[in-house]
């Protein structure tokens, strides 16, 4: 390929760049064999040129070739040059597209890594006992129960992703319903394991659990008493369970209403606890010196918080069990898969959000 013809290319190839700087760069290239353009284009152009044995020193070979060939067969050569330009430009656009795609993937991966790092750092801070006491309210005190929970939860999420992937494979393979059932039971048990972990953590520090620090921001934003809201979960799952028999639809609709009633009762109880704590702490003269009696009275009530988290998780467990009782193994498997993917998307959303906040800061 004649390198001289490349002097027509710059404006089309480097579409993002200013025409003046393009020409400047390209002139540099021709005169000094100096390439000052982005890596992929450089590499590609270099590799392409390196393939031509005649293009050892572009600056000198090009122009002379051009004039020679134009003297003999002007029209053919011009047409051939233009065709090759188009081809080169097309290939360049393809390469650029692939490069950008690769960048996007790397960016997503980086976000995930940063998120992971953040979690591990928080956990490390918790164990270390207050390297950076600014933001995290719990630093300064080492709570082994919470540290253990953080680690266990990290493992739980990894296992959850793996189980979900296995479930997806199983669902789209040719396995029998009875085997699918065992996948479903295993998946549900994994959630029940989490509830048990949370109960232990609640006894270690219920405020920590309720603060949602151990979960991603999007998950916490959508949570209700330290976890998912059962009625909302049903709403999310329903479309993925289709096709449903009329009886199933009715049962699930009733179940959703029952969940809402139970959730309302728990929410109102929590509100009452909230008011009680507020009243207790504010009792007596505000501004007087020792306020220990009020604090002590409030402390006694904090045990109720632990019970609330426990009752909420118990409701989640009962709801999941009741859902699976009303579904065929295949429907239940689809539901479980949808559930896992829903939470994973929330985690991804949080990663994306966190990283976009860092970029704009």
């Amino acid at each position: 390929m004649n390198s001289a013809s490349t002097q027509f290319i710059p404006t089309r190839r480097m579409g993002l760049y200013e025409p003046t700087s393009q020409m400047g760069m390209w002139n540099d290239y021709r005169e000094n064999n100096f390439m000052d353009i982005p890596p992929p284009v450089i590499l590609d152009v270099n590799s392409r040129f390196d393939n031509q044995s005649e293009d050892t020193s572009h600056g000198t070979v090009g122009p002379s070739n051009k004039y020679d060939q134009e003297a003999s067969k002007p029209v053919d050569k011009v047409l051939r040059r233009l065709a090759q330009n188009r081809e080169a430009a097309r290939k360049c656009r393809q390469r650029k597209k692939a490069y950008v795609q690769q960048l996007e993937n790397s960016k997503l991966r980086l976000m995930q890594l940063e998120q992971e790092l953040e979690r591990v750092r928080q956990q490390g801070l918790y164990i270390g006992g207050g390297l950076d006491t600014g933001q995290l309210g719990y630093c300064g005190t080492t709570n082994p129960g919470i540290a253990a929970f953080e680690m266990a939860y990290g493992q739980w999420v990894e296992q959850q992703n793996k189980k979900n992937a296995d479930l997806r494979d199983a669902l789209y393979s040719d396995i029998r319903d009875v085997e699918l059932s065992s996948f479903v039971e295993d998946g549900m048990k994994h959630y029940f394991d989490l509830f048990a972990m949370k109960e232990t953590a609640a006894r270690a520090d219920v405020f920590y659990l309720m603060s949602g620090m151990w979960r991603t921001s999007a998950e916490h934003f959508l949570s209700w008493i330290g976890g998912f809201r059962p009625s909302e979960l049903l709403k999310v799952l329903m479309p993925h369970l289709e096709p449903l028999a009329e009886q199933q639809r009715l049962e699930l609709s009733n179940l959703r209403q029952s969940c809402q009633q139970a959730e309302d009762a728990l929410s109102q109880g929590l509100e009452k606890l909230h008011q009680f704590l507020s009243d207790t702490v504010a009792a007596g003269q505000l501004g007087e010196g020792p306020y220990l009696p009020q604090i002590r009275a409030a402390m006694d009530k904090l045990d109720d918080m632990v019970r609330f988290v426990g009752q909420a998780d118990h409701l989640r467990k009962e709801t999941l069990m009741q859902i699976s009782r009303n579904l065929t193994p295949r429907q239940a498997a689809r539901g479980l898969l949808a559930l896992g993917e829903y939470f994973q998307r929330l985690r991804d959303l949080s990663s994306l959000w966190a990283s976009s906040r860092r970029e704009s800061a």
Partner: protein
């Protein structure tokens, strides 16, 4: 089988004022409260047994406990008007003993815990059992059988 919901019940503080005498005051919210006096251990025992027998649904809860409030709100949300017995801290032990005598507690978790519910004169369970049976739909059936629910 459709469940109809009650109209929203306005939030009220349902605790009665303290009264030095032994009282049993029926009131629109069915909250009953007994203050112990010297000879009342027997009275309490008799009263508790009768109360359990006479009420389709009765909830025994610790005074000011948010958990018994949750039970009450859930039952009210179903259209049931439960009798709620609020137990003073000092009466707690006595009441537990009496209730265990009437059948409260299944011995699995040791001592009976508040709040605890009797339906149709028989011991039913605590908040967890209420929640579990509510989710499966059994609770409504049991309440209807006990005559606490007519809808």
């Amino acid at each position: 089988m459709c469940k109809t919901r009650q109209e929203p019940i306005p939030y009220r503080n349902l605790l009665l004022q303290e009264n030095p005498q032994t009282i049993m005051n029926p009131n629109p919210d069915n909250v009953k409260r007994i203050k112990e006096n010297a000879s009342s251990l027997y009275d309490i025992a008799g009263d508790l047994k009768n109360m359990v027998k006479d009420n389709a649904v009765i909830v025994f809860g610790k005074d000011g406990c948010c958990m018994s409030y949750v039970v009450k709100r859930l039952l009210q949300g179903l259209g049931v008007n439960p009798t709620v017995y609020e137990v003073d801290e000092e009466d707690e032990n006595d009441v537990v003993i009496e209730l265990e005598g009437i059948g409260a507690g299944d011995g699995k978790e040791g001592r009976m815990q508040f709040p605890t519910v009797f339906i149709g004169g028989r011991w039913f369970g605590g908040l967890e059992r209420i929640m579990a049976t509510h989710i499966t739909g059994e609770l409504t059936t049991l309440l209807k059988q006990a005559g606490a629910l007519w809808l």
